[in-house]
Symmetry: C2
Subunit: 489 residues, 2 copies
């Protein structure tokens, strides 16, 4: 069955993106490899002068049965070798250094982009025809480029009510207004979003920016049903969904306090693993109105500075133009070695790695939530154990704090007190208010009704990703103590 | 003797740069390593899960006596080893993978930035106190970030009359008007620039963008005297000089047709080498109004995607804010391995490498110019043998073309004919008109008097960098033939 092609959405491009031109020099490059042509056009240094003759990397060998954190030993070690000239090497699909360390391939080297396309289709089964993948230097830069491609100073975009503060700052500095969309513990509320857009004053926002899986900061993971409703709203109100998905493969088993039930709960086959993943917006995208920001930062390593954008080819071409005159492409060493790793592992080995991550993060999350239950005072807190990502949040009831009335019934003042007490006791968690998006259009949008569930509450964001598990438990014990001290419990 | 501190130039910042805020999250990071503090603040993956346990690289060993292009042999090979944890290694100043592959150090890892600062001071002897170095992913991105830091849509900047078309497009797409400054075969004409600014209509431009050494496309290298005059104009008219200097270390001996004089002409000591370099604008910058864009692209390899900006610390802090929410920093593999190479070589070894480049490029340039002299018809061409960079240009007299009158005395039409004939004969050189900067302000600036020397001329840009020397000679023979055919010679 043939798939539909994407809808033309070029009317949503920014002034900047519309005005970007191809370089005439790039046009001349069609003669670069023409037989009989001496090409004196480009300022490329000879690869003979690249001072890296060979690079190697020691990587673990699938299926990683001792866990991902295990020390790589001689037995389970694979050695990648990337040569300056590929003919010296036996490896197939190798990105030789004379190519990766040269100019060219702004969209990413074909071997690694090819792997990512196969991987993307395996996971998301993209339902339209003309989608593509473009390499970036990580989601932070992908988001910056996305804003430049679609919005112009003064435009408004939609963001989650609590969102990653750096992502908000990326928009703010570009003069873009980040208007919050109401959410609850499970993510964006579709009905509220629909109402918000029905009564929208002025030009409607072109983008919804969402960290939908393992949301930062709330740790929520919006379910398939809400996603579908939100996708339909994107069609109805003609906006693009930017799904920023660094945590997509940090999905876990559902939390249970029953320790015996935890065992053997992880998916065993690749198929089970893939089917257990929450469907992405991309997987529902029949019109090509999803821009998916993907990255190796949380699944391999952030310092690779290697991400990729999935979207319709016609829109990605505008990203190519911006990358040609800004980042160009990810580092050649990153591309050669990451590609080497992926080709050695193959899709099966990479899925083994991702399954390993799922198991590691499930365990970390369990330890964190166990400690919250053990050390935090039940009577004033609430939380939803996360099923994805690096973060968990603990919500506190400000109205039960002894100074609530005295401090003018201001939840944020109580939040400050608990934060400071946490530092005093020796544990830092990030106050939820630091992530509040508060952009206002001019004229302002009509007020949405206040959510009675979250009135007089505040929350803290913690992570189980970054600290050894013994430290995590000690930290949460200290923060729990801080809460008890503040609340006289 | 103590150096002066820089002048406050924050009035030259763009709207965007002024509005960029520090992330409150970054503020919390001061507690990251505080003893006794459990830090649950940041979403950092554990380095245990980074799948690169060790990386190595084979690099050549100084002093590279067989030339830079020589195959690395077992005898002159140095093997870099970078481990996940530095204590496993003997190397000092190593950037271990658990750090380079993690988040952090937006400004660049301290070891490699430290090396670059020492190198910068050794070469440029920066005459003010509070300068600094910041890592970027190459000069293309540095220039994009520089524009975002200083100019706002609608602003005008100054560029060379012929300039790198991608750099112009970077500005154009941001809605910035690139106003040409008159130049001759030796670069920008200071008196014309002064006059242009004296009679400037509207807000004066904040930036002059210049590729001053091995200019792209003209191949010119502006001398110290003109540089000093232009620096004084920057002070007088309060603009910033952006010196885009990828070719700085591709400086060569003066061209001579006397082959015996070519031998033994290269500088022998590091000191001689440094003293033979043309002084940079940075070396004259007593006020901190130079932003220098430097890069490894032409001296090590473009695919490293590793450049750096030198400028006053207060202005660089604004670049840090933009990098935090866009590129973050160069790839960790690039930083670990490039730093490894630089630390192994040391400053002396790196200077040996640069001296080797000087010698290689001098030879390439000689071969190119010899071939131009041999194969191009003297009577209609002129050229200045370049002393820096990858490019040479050949200027042609349009008025001597048989169809000049017939085609309305339009030099560009003759240029087109020669370009097409070149393709037919099998050699591509880039027409100079492709690099013409033609930005116009509204209202327009007063017309400058036409340069009688360049009226009725056009030029082609060639490179001796990218092709083996035998190919270069064959190509120039073919292009010379094309010129002769077109001119009936």
């Amino acid at each position: 069955m043939s798939k539909p092609t994407s809808k033309d959405l070029t009317h949503l491009l920014s002034e900047e993106a519309k005005s970007r031109k191809n370089s005439p020099l790039k046009g001349a490059f069609k003669y670069f490899k023409q037989p009989g042509m001496t090409f004196l056009g480009g300022g490329l240094p000879l690869p003979d002068y690249f001072p890296f003759d060979k690079v190697t990397a020691d990587i673990p060998t699938p299926p990683f049965t001792n866990g991902l954190g295990a020390q790589v030993t001689e037995e389970d070690k694979t050695v990648l070798e990337i040569h300056k000239k590929a003919e010296l090497n036996k490896g197939e699909n190798e990105i030789e250094l004379s190519r990766s360390l040269q100019y060219g391939f702004t969209e990413g080297q074909p071997e690694v982009v090819g792997f990512l396309k196969e991987h993307t289709d395996m996971i998301h089964k993209v339902p339209y025809e003309d989608w593509d993948v473009m390499a970036t230097v990580g989601n932070t830069q992908s988001w910056d480029a996305t804003l430049r491609t679609f919005v112009t100073r003064g435009d408004a975009i939609l963001v989650e009510e609590f969102s990653f503060s750096s992502a908000l700052e990326t928009a703010n500095a570009q003069g873009v207004i980040t208007v919050p969309v109401p959410m609850d513990a499970e993510g964006i509320l579709p009905d509220a979003l629909d109402k918000q857009l029905d009564q929208w004053v002025g030009p409607k926002p072109k983008l919804l920016y969402t960290i939908c899986t393992g949301q930062n900061p709330t740790g929520s993971c919006i379910d398939a049903e809400r996603r579908k409703k939100i996708y339909d709203l994107a069609v109805k109100h003609d906006f693009i969904i930017v799904e920023d998905e660094p945590y997509y493969f940090l999905q876990m088993e559902t939390y249970t306090t029953d320790e015996s039930a935890r065992k053997g709960k992880q998916p065993h086959s690749h198929e089970e693993f893939i089917n257990a993943l929450v469907p992405s917006y991309l997987s529902m995208d029949v019109e090509g109105r999803v821009i998916r920001l993907d990255s190796f930062s949380k699944v391999l390593a952030p310092g690779l500075r290697f991400g990729w954008i999935v979207g319709q080819a016609k829109l990605l071409e505008r990203f190519l133009r911006i990358h040609e005159v800004s980042i160009q492409c990810p580092s050649g060493l990153t591309q050669s070695l990451t590609n080497g790793l992926l080709q050695k592992w193959g899709h099966k080995g990479y899925l083994d790695w991702l399954i390993g991550l799922r198991s590691e993060y499930t365990h970390k999350r369990d330890v964190a939530i166990d400690a919250v239950i053990k050390y935090f005072p039940k009577e004033i807190i609430s939380f939803v154990p996360p099923v994805a990502g690096m973060f968990f949040t603990v919500t506190l009831d400000a109205s039960k704090h002894p100074k609530f009335k005295e401090l003018g019934e201001d939840a944020q003042k109580i939040e400050d007190l608990v934060y400071e007490q946490g530092l005093k006791q020796g544990c830092l968690m990030i106050p939820g208010s630091w992530f509040k998006s508060e952009g206002k259009t001019n004229p302002p949008q009509p007020e949405l009704p206040e959510n009675p569930d979250t009135k007089n509450t505040f929350f803290f964001r913690g992570t189980y990703a970054a600290v050894p598990l013994d430290q995590l438990v000690i930290g949460l014990e200290k923060f729990g103590k801080a809460v008890k001290i503040e609340y006289n419990l």
